[in-house]
């Protein structure tokens, strides 16, 4: 029985993280799972992963946001469209890249600053009148 519970923990951990994948959500929507009442109830049950003692096992935290959105019927309906899933995917990737972009920008700004500082002393007297 303890093993059953462990297995269930494992499978629910995997399943909930799969929800971070918008293509998978589209897959589920197109096969009608998101319309089934028991499945919707199961999604509500999965909300327990938001608690800290469970959330710390999540490798892909995006899944929690998706889970929250999935509680809304409107969202579940929209996921049937491939364009919707594609849009979510794109936005998700852009968001994912946000910090690396920010870091790159900062690094570039820093590099530029250092460059101008190095260039100034030799050219300080050639300012045009």
């Amino acid at each position: 029985r303890a093993e059953q519970a462990r297995n269930r923990f494992q499978s629910e951990l995997e399943f909930i993280q799969c929800l971070a994948n918008p293509n998978y959500l589209n897959f589920l929507a197109q096969r009608g799972y998101l319309r089934e009442k028991p499945f919707v109830n199961y999604l509500k049950y999965l909300l327990y992963w938001k608690e800290p003692e469970y959330a710390k096992f999540l490798k892909y935290p995006h899944c929690l946001h998706m889970l929250e959105l999935l509680q809304y019927e409107h969202f579940r309906k929209e996921l049937v469209n491939a364009q919707c899933a594609k849009f979510i995917d794109e936005q998700q990737l852009l968001h994912w890249q946000h910090y690396s972009r920010k870091r790159t920008r900062l690094q570039q700004a820093l590099a530029e600053q250092q460059q101008t500082q190095q260039q100034q002393p030799p050219h300080g007297n050639t300012a045009a009148k």
Binding site: R6, S11, E14, C18, N23, Y24, F57, K59, E73, H98
Partner: protein
């Protein structure tokens, strides 16, 4: 001599004035009689004395009334003094009342704010997590690029902020059931897709399954039948109840 006191019957002022009138009349009569008696030389004895007596009586009344009026004046003055006292006390009381009200208001505000503070302290305490755990978790999700893209990521890189097709199939769920081919993500070669199973060589253990970490961790107690209406759920319409029939759970155990 004014008095605003209205006694039962005539006021002192009225009485005084009427007595004065009487005096005037009487003295005029007396003077007339004297004048007459002088010219006529007849003894008017009884009438003289009558008028004189009346005169004296009236004068006595007059004196009495004057005395009364004086006393009344004193009383009136006392009354005024007392009234002033009363006014002063009254305003004192009002002042105290105002201050009391102010104090009460300030105290009420202070108590209220203190209560709010206590509430927020409670709330913060409830949600407190050791900073070490948070840092550990932050490391975990950042190191695997799950929340922040790798710095050298370009379009075409198969890495994603979610489990890819490959990862999904290589997990416990993927092995539990033969998933139909769906071509999403396109991360797998077609052969493996058709087979529905990966050869063991290609089965990587992805850290997102965290089987080693989660030993001892159990899901919250719940029956296996998700067809039943969960308590308080009211967003959806009432549909027919069915047992869950998705691929992802093949645990056909009885309830605990």
């Amino acid at each position: 001599m004014e008095t605003t006191m209205a006694v039962a019957g005539k006021s002192t002022k009225v009485r005084l004035l009427s007595v004065l009138d009487d005096l005037e009349v009487l003295s005029r009569e007396l003077i007339e009689m004297l004048a007459l008696s002088r010219s006529q030389k007849l003894p008017q004895g009884s009438e003289d004395t009558q008028v004189l007596e009346l005169l004296v009586q009236r004068d006595r009344e007059f004196q009495e009334l004057m005395r009364v009026a004086q006393e009344q004046g004193k009383v009136h003055q006392e009354m005024q003094v007392l009234e002033k006292e009363v006014e002063k006390r009254d305003s004192d009381i009002q002042q105290l009342q105002k201050q009391l009200k102010e104090a009460e208001h300030i105290l009420a505000t202070a108590v209220y704010q203190a209560k709010e503070k206590l509430k927020s302290i409670d709330k913060a305490r409830k949600g407190s997590i050791s900073s070490e755990e948070i840092i550990k978790y932050a490391h975990r999700i950042s190191a695997s690029n799950a929340v922040c893209a790798p710095l050298n990521w370009v379009p075409g890189d198969p890495r994603r902020p979610y489990p890819t097709d490959l990862e999904m199939r290589s997990g416990m769920l993927g092995h539990m059931s033969n998933l139909p081919t769906n071509g999403v993500n396109g991360h797998l070669p077609g052969d493996a897709l058709a087979a529905g199973r990966l050869p063991d060589v290609l089965t990587p253990q992805y850290p997102w399954q965290s089987s080693d970490v989660s030993v001892g961790m159990l899901p919250p107690h719940h029956g296996n039948d998700f067809g039943l209406e969960p308590p308080g759920h009211n967003k959806e319409n009432e549909d027919d109840v069915e047992a869950m029939s998705t691929d992802s759970s093949s645990s056909s155990s009885d309830s605990d």
